[in-house]
Amino acid sequence: MYQIVTREDLTPEIHLFEIMAPDVAKKAQAGQFVVIRADDRGERIPLTIADWNRQKGTVTVVFMEVGKTTRKLATLKAGESIANFAGPLGLPTHIDKYGTVVCVAGGFAIATIVPIARAMKEAGNKVVSIMGFRNKNLMFWEDRLRQFSDELIVTTDDGSYGRKGVVTIPLKELLESGKEKVGLVVAIGPTVMMKFSSLTTQPFGVKTIVSLNPIMVDGTGMCGVCRVSIGGVTKFTCVDGPDFDAHKVDWDELMARQRTYLDEEKRSLELWKQSCSCGGKT
């Protein structure tokens, strides 16, 4: 069992757990993930590592309530425990001196981008960050990202904060203006957002990496459910990624594979809402 040391509600539906896992904390690096199980009947799901504290022996993960597992997790309080926590998995983000690095985060993937922005900054890059949310109420960690960014642009779909629109608009402007010589774009968020970020940077020939989030089971290369096509070659996201060259990803295949269990997920969630003691909190 792995204890939740602290819990923070970043928004009503996005939560942070700081989990006691000293061995994982010792090894965690930006871009890696863990596979967790909430309880003994739970499924194995991947969560990206948002932070770690090697002295304290803790690892921080951030999740949004979507399906049954994340809602189940959301019922847990600090001091309670989750059944399993395996990691750090996947390859760390390749940190190097690229000159200017643009970090683009969509929604709660800001939790994934922050350690990458930090590492890029520490490696001596100029970091320009773009973070986008649907609206102001879903925003968090603006201050954290600003801390590691030389420049920060915030967008909201509805214009309730920062610029109105999606992240690809300022991204395109930045590349068009030519005022920065961009060495690398790191785009992380929902698959559609990563796909469109990739399409945005492609004409400019700027190297772009994305962190893919297919369905996973083991997270160790054992099952192949996380396979993705990269430049026509099948790769396992959990061991060959999760970071890949955005311009080589078969996005449509990835999105189709992510939809495999939509019906089952819905059914599972409905049944859980009916039966759980929280009275179907939605």
Binding site: D23, K27, E43, N84, V217, M222, R227, R257, E264
Partner: protein, 467 residues
């Protein structure tokens, strides 16, 4: 011989095919006492003892059968366990027909002794006895040496148990959230009840072995770090967990699974109990399982139980080349699995939502024997045909996971990705590191993994005592 020699073996009581196709309970119910006695009486106790030589770990088979028929059950257990720590598992899953039973003297005239069934009977008898009546395992006084076992499949469990009995302090680190390896995540409940595996794991723990789960070695710690951390020896029993795919067009459509994914969802994650358990698995109406080994049979038989209407085994060679245990092939046939021999998939077609819809195949003919001695299949020209399928399980075999080899300095591997280890001692090319089981041989058998672990234990123990 007082009685006339019976050339037929006592039949194994089984769940009826119709009934078992609807549940995940064990198919073979096990001999009753009278069945076991009758079968044991068929043994002629020949002097040749070919059966013992046919057993990869050299179980004293005539002796345990004699004890059984003289009703000295504890004695039978002792003889059996003297060579094989996991008889309840081996009795169920060993390919006896190519090992001990193949060379049984009775086989010349009739059916060989059902050694596997008797082994299982003795093991199940022991499991049913109250804990207090079981002899305490003898554990040597502490040697002060620390051993790390990586992986908790049959190889890892055997190595851990035997090293602990020799007085070493043993820790197992396992990547998954339960111990047992393939016995837990691969082989289905209806063939290998999980309570039996759990009992073996508990026994290993009772010897003082500590099992740390959720530990992917190569990630959470490397072998070099483990050695630097004060461990005197490391045993790698990480198995062959990496699935092979067909590498043909359309293989990433939804509904196409590796056997590992399919079986892990069913067995480890209990998808057959969804939504009571959280992990789903979608099995359609027409399932094609590609391959002819135990893994393929298991996937096909799970599909039957998960409600598929037509389940095909698609295998590129013929029936005689199938590596699966004969009993499981028979069970699969009884359960309605349809075998398509000399057939090989070439391409998959999907629907507009990305789900597999059609599988294009070719027919094969058997040519000359290949390196493995089996006649190798060649494509029959112009034989392309299509099969409508909505689920495909690819069971072509597995290779070792490279996570440990690629993160361990000085650990040599072969072209196939298996770890190089001396067959007699399990010694790898890295000092202080031994390996055994599927990680060395590629996918093989439970008993060969155990045998390799035992040989490695002898070598590790000598090394630690000589230190």
């Amino acid at each position: 011989m007082p009685e006339k020699l019976n050339l037929n073996r006592v039949a194994m009581p089984k769940q009826e095919p119709k009934m078992r196709a609807g549940n995940f309970n064990e198919v073979a119910l096990g001999y009753q006492a009278e069945d076991a006695l009758a079968e044991a009486r068929r043994c002629i106790q020949c002097k040749k003892r070919s059966c013992t030589q046919g057993c990869p770990v050299g179980v004293d088979i005539p002796e345990f059968i004699l004890a059984l028929r003289e009703n000295k059950m504890s004695e039978a257990v002792k003889i059996l366990k003297g060579k094989n720590a996991l008889p309840g598992i081996c009795g169920r899953v060993c390919p006896q027909e190519t090992q001990c039973e193949e060379v049984c003297a009775l086989g010349k005239k009739g059916a060989p002794i059902a050694i596997g069934r008797l082994e299982r009977y003795v093991a199940d008898w022991e499991l049913a006895q109250p804990a207090s009546s079981k002899p305490k395992p003898e554990i040597a006084p502490p040697t002060g040496k620390k051993v790390m076992v990586v992986g908790s499949g049959p190889a890892g469990l055997t190595a851990a148990a035997d090293m602990a009995k020799r007085g070493h302090k043993v820790t197992i680190r396992e990547a998954l959230h339960v111990a047992g390896g393939v016995l837990m995540y691969g082989i289905p409940e209806f063939r290998m009840p999980k309570r039996i595996v759990q009992a073996e794991v508990d026994y290993v723990k009772s010897l003082g072995v500590e099992i740390k789960l959720d530990s992917v070695i190569g990630k959470i710690a490397t072998v070099d770090e483990i050695l630097a951390d004060g461990y005197d020896a490391v045993f790698l029993g990480t198995g062959a967990g990496l699935p092979m795919f067909l590498r043909i067009p359309g293989e990433n459509y939804n509904g196409i699974y590796s056997a590992n994914e399919f079986l892990t969802r069913v067995n480890l994650m209990k998808a057959y109990l969804f939504p009571e358990y959280d992990t789903p698995l979608r099995v359609g109406k027409r399932v094609a399982v590609i391959g002819g080994g135990n893994v393929a049979m298991d996937a096909a038989r799970c599909s039957v139980r998960l409600g598929a209407q037509e389940v095909y085994i698609v295998y590129r060679r013929s029936r005689t080349e199938m590596p699966a245990r004969r009993e499981e092939v028979e069970n699969a046939e009884e359960e309605g699995v349809i075998f398509k021999f000399l057939t090989n998939p070439e391409k998959f077609y999907g629907d507009e939502k990305g789900w597999v819809k059609t599988m294009e195949c070719v027919e094969m003919e058997l040519g000359e024997p290949d390196a493995s001695g089996r006649r190798s299949p060649v494509v029959k020209k112009g034989s392309e045909f299509k099969m409508d399928v909505d689920t495909v399980v690819v069971a072509l075999g597995t290779t070792p996971n490279p996570l440990v080899p690629t993160t361990t300095k000085g650990l040599d591997t072969t072209k196939k990705g298996t770890v190089v280890a001396d067959e007699a001692s399990g010694k790898t090319t890295k000092s202080g590191v031994w390996a055994g089981g599927d990680v060395v041989t590629g996918s093989a058998t439970v008993i060969s993994a155990m045998g390799a672990a035992k040989r490695a234990v002898a070598s590790m123990d000598a090394f630690l005592k000589g230190q």
